[in-house]
Structures are given as structure tokens and as C-alpha cells.
């Protein structure tokens, strides 16, 4: 059967993608960010997944205001990197896993989560920046991402976004769905976005290091309590865009210790850095 062996959490700041694409990773401004992911790239090489289930949000790229799905799962064979206005990122095409994705879609809908199923969409920095951070720089033509990716887009653009509790419960449903798939696949689930940042108004540039780290502590040790954090706490404490953190709870909900308290998990990596452009960068790797 398929199983989720690890979860990865990371910010998906677009400027990180630009730094990679423009060859700026060794500049003093960016060095600490990329150094923070050196261990993680090695870990990816040592623990290669067969499939990555990647939770992210679309930033007015594939979804305009014409259609705003709360949860959308990609079941396509491939996804093109989007032109977000600066031209598409020079990264490989993202290959999907239609069989596992459609299996998860059916199973999760039967567990009462009303997913939108997407067979055609471009993927923006929310999805490709985490891949670049974890997999390194790749040639868009000659190289490929190390494995198929199932994109899972969450609406965090138009309020109200799904609650932390809803996301946490969804993660548990995704775990059941993966485990009911017959093929022997090693699946990673990634939660992306955050941490504290605000991109608008007089409060733009807000960072809350203390709150971010307390939230991380709780998400690791007591995810059910963390999932109960109300929307307003994210907005007030972590900035209007800090609310992206609810997506991390989907990945956290899919970990083994949530289904079985006696199953220990381990923290393989924890990293925090300010700033990347407007944003506090947070990163975790948890293993089952």
C-alpha cells in the first residue's frame, strides 16, 4: 500500500524563486536562506519520495475571481509553470500523478470534503518555489523534478479561508486516502506558505518572530490545539498574508501521530529566517 513517510513545511516567497532564477543565491542577502535548506536538499536525495502531495495556494494565477475553489486537487498528467506577469519561471514542467490523485479525490470526497477537481491549470510560485528550495536548481529543458507532484490548491486569497481545524481534519482524510491506495508508493506531503508577513497597507512588512516560533512549537507538539487557532489570531499576529499557515495544518494532519498517539514522529529539520523580501521564512521536516 501507499504510505506517507514524511511532511515538509516551507515558505514559498516569490523573491526566493527570482533569486534562484537570476543566480543571486550567493549574494549576502540570500545566502542565509539557501544555507538553511542545504540539509534539506541532502535529505531529499537520501529520502526520495515516489510522489509529493503539495499543498499550496494559487496567487490569482490559475484562479481569477471567476472561480474561487476552497480546496482544489490536480488530477492532470502535467502542469505548466505560469507566467505571473514577469514571464514563466525557468523550471521543468511539473509532472502529475493522475492515478493517485484521482484515487485521493474520490476517497476524500467520500469522507465529506467537497474538493474541486482540476484537470488543467498552470502552477505559480506557490508550488514551484518549494520544489526549487528542496530540489535545487534545475534546467527547464534538460532536467526534471525528482518525482511526480499532486498539486493541492487552497483558497487563502479571499476571506474566509478554510479554518485551521478544517485543514487539520482534511489532512487526516488525505492520510486515509493514501493508505487505501494499493500500489507501494512512498508519499511526502508538503504544506507551504507563511510565515508572518503582510503585503498590504500601512502595516506592510509586519513580522512576528515570537508568535511564529510559538506557533511552530505548538504545531509540532500539539497540532490539535494549534489547529484551533482562530483566523483572527493569524491576521492580527502574523499579518494578513500570514493566514497562509493554515495550509501547514493539512500536512500536519496527515502525520502518523495524529491517527495513533503512540506513533512517534521526529523533527529532522527546523529553520527560521527573517527576511526574504517581505516575509519570515519558516521550514520544517517531520518524519513518521
Amino acid at each position: 500500500m501507499a504510505r506517507i513517510t514524511a511532511s515538509v513545511y516551507t515558505s514559498h516567497v516569490p523573491a526566493i524563486g527570482a533569486a534562484i532564477d537570476l543566480g543571486k543565491t550567493h549574494e549576502p542577502y540570500w545566502q542565509p536562506v539557501f544555507k538553511g535548506y542545504e540539509y534539506s536538499r541532502q535529505w531529499m536525495t537520501d529520502n526520495p519520495p515516489d510522489v509529493i502531495f503539495l499543498v499550496y495556494n494559487d496567487h490569482a494565477t490559475a484562479f481569477s475571481l471567476d472561480l474561487i475553489p476552497t480546496f482544489a486537487i490536480g488530477t492532470a498528467a502535467e502542469y505548466q509553470p505560469a507566467d505571473e506577469g514577469w514571464g514563466p519561471r525557468p523550471v521543468p514542467v511539473v509532472k502529475g500523478h493522475p492515478e493517485l490523485a484521482s484515487h485521493i479525490a474520490q476517497s476524500v470526497i467520500q469522507q465529506d470534503f467537497d474538493l474541486t477537481i482540476v484537470n488543467k491549470m498552470a502552477v505559480d510560485h506557490g508550488l514551484t518555489v518549494p520544489l526549487s528550495l528542496m530540489c535545487g536548481e534545475l534546467d527547464p529543458k534538460k532536467d526534471a523534478w525528482p518525482c511526480p507532484v499532486i498539486p493541492f490548491a487552497v483558497n487563502v486569497v479571499q476571506y474566509p479561508v478554510p479554518s485551521g481545524q478544517r485543514c487539520f481534519a482534511l489532512g487526516q482524510a488525505i492520510r486515509k486516502a493514501v493508505e487505501s491506495y494499493d500500489d507501494d508508493l512512498n508519499v511526502h506531503i508538503w504544506g507551504t506558505g507563511g510565515m508572518s508577513h503582510q503585503l498590504q497597507g500601512a502595516r506592510a512588512g509586519l513580522i512576528n518572530r515570537e508568535w511564529d516560533n510559538a506557533w511552530l512549537d505548538q504545531m509540532i507538539a500539539d497540532p490539535a490545539a494549534c489547529a484551533a487557532t482562530p483566523h483572527i489570531d493569524y491576521v492580527r499576529e502574523a499579518g494578513s498574508e500570514g493566514i497562509e499557515l493554515v495550509m501547514w495544518l493539512i500536512a500536519r494532519g496527515a502525520m502518523a501521530d495524529v491517527a495513533d498517539k503512540n506513533h512517534p514522529i521526529s523533527v529532522r529539520r527546523r529553520f527560521y529566517h527573517v527576511p526574504a523580501s517581505n516575509t519570515a521564512v519558516g521550514h520544517l521536516i517531520l518524519e513518521n
Binding site: 523573491a15 475571481l65 479571499q158 498590504q200 497597507g201 506592510a204 483566523h231 491576521v235
Partner: protein
């Protein structure tokens, strides 16, 4: 019964909720059109004529022409959509975010390098943090007291 909106007392912040989204529909859809290179060219060639193709309010058009992102947001714009205007102008997200504070680009960048904007005083309207209304615009542009 009115909807619960606990986020209205956060200073310097407009939450893009269903009501803002309805107000800003055409403004944001105009922004979306700038994801196509050909549309970016047409917009740059004659901004006013391009804006007039959209069912936006006159105020929304003026806000776009002025590149006043705070004004755009008050009329229903969302930053991820408005970012397409910035991309068309060759601006980074940091330049766009900074433009909403009144700070110069260098001042805003320096604030971020120093750890970002502090949360203390900026949680609730009526406190004394730098994002509060009585302290706008920020940075060297702020009118000197008395």
C-alpha cells in the same frame, strides 16, 4: 443578521472578504488580464483607453492611473491581483508593499533587514505603533510634529 468581521480593528489592513471581492470584481479582473504580454503592451501604450474597456468605476480607474495601491485596495483590489500592475511596471513585491507605507524603497528595505515591522502597537486600532493612522505616511515623508 450581520456577518462576523473581527478583523476590522486591525490597523493599516483591509481584509479581502466577499464584500470587498464583489466591489473589486472588475478592477481585479482587469489586473488579471495583464498576465498576457499582449495586454500589457496595449495597457502601456494607452492606459486610459485600456481601462475604459473594463466595467470599473471611475474611482478605480483613477486609483490605478495614480498607482496608489492603498486606494486600489479600498475600492476592492486585492494585492495578488494588483501585483500584475506592478509586474507590468517592472516592480518587485517588496517595492509594491513598501509603496503602501509611504516609506522610500531604501527605508522599507532597511526595516525588513532589521527584522521587519514590530507587532507591538500594531495589533489594534488606537494603539501607538507605526502602522497606526496618526503616524502616516511613514519614514522621512512623515510631516514633522508641530
Amino acid at each position: 443578521m450581520a456577518l462576523e468581521k473581527p478583523y476590522l480593528d486591525v490597523p493599516g489592513t483591509i481584509i479581502f472578504d466577499a464584500e470587498q471581492s464583489r466591489k473589486g470584481y472588475w478592477l481585479n479582473q482587469f489586473c488579471m488580464s495583464l498576465m498576457k504580454a499582449a495586454n500589457r503592451e496595449r495597457f502601456k501604450a494607452n492606459e486610459r483607453a485600456y481601462l475604459d474597456e473594463w466595467a470599473m468605476t471611475e474611482e478605480q480607474k483613477q486609483a490605478v492611473l495614480a498607482r496608489d495601491l492603498n486606494w486600489c485596495m479600498r475600492t476592492g483590489g486585492n494585492i495578488y491581483f494588483l501585483a500584475k500592475i506592478g509586474a507590468t511596471d517592472g516592480k518587485s513585491f517588496q517595492q509594491m508593499a513598501g509603496s503602501m507605507t509611504g516609506m522610500t524603497e531604501d527605508e522599507y528595505r532597511a526595516m525588513m533587514l532589521a527584522g521587519g515591522r514590530q507587532i507591538d502597537g500594531n495589533r489594534y486600532v488606537g494603539e501607538d505603533g507605526d502602522a497606526q493612522a496618526h503616524r502616516q505616511p511613514q519614514g522621512a515623508n512623515h510631516p514633522k510634529a508641530d
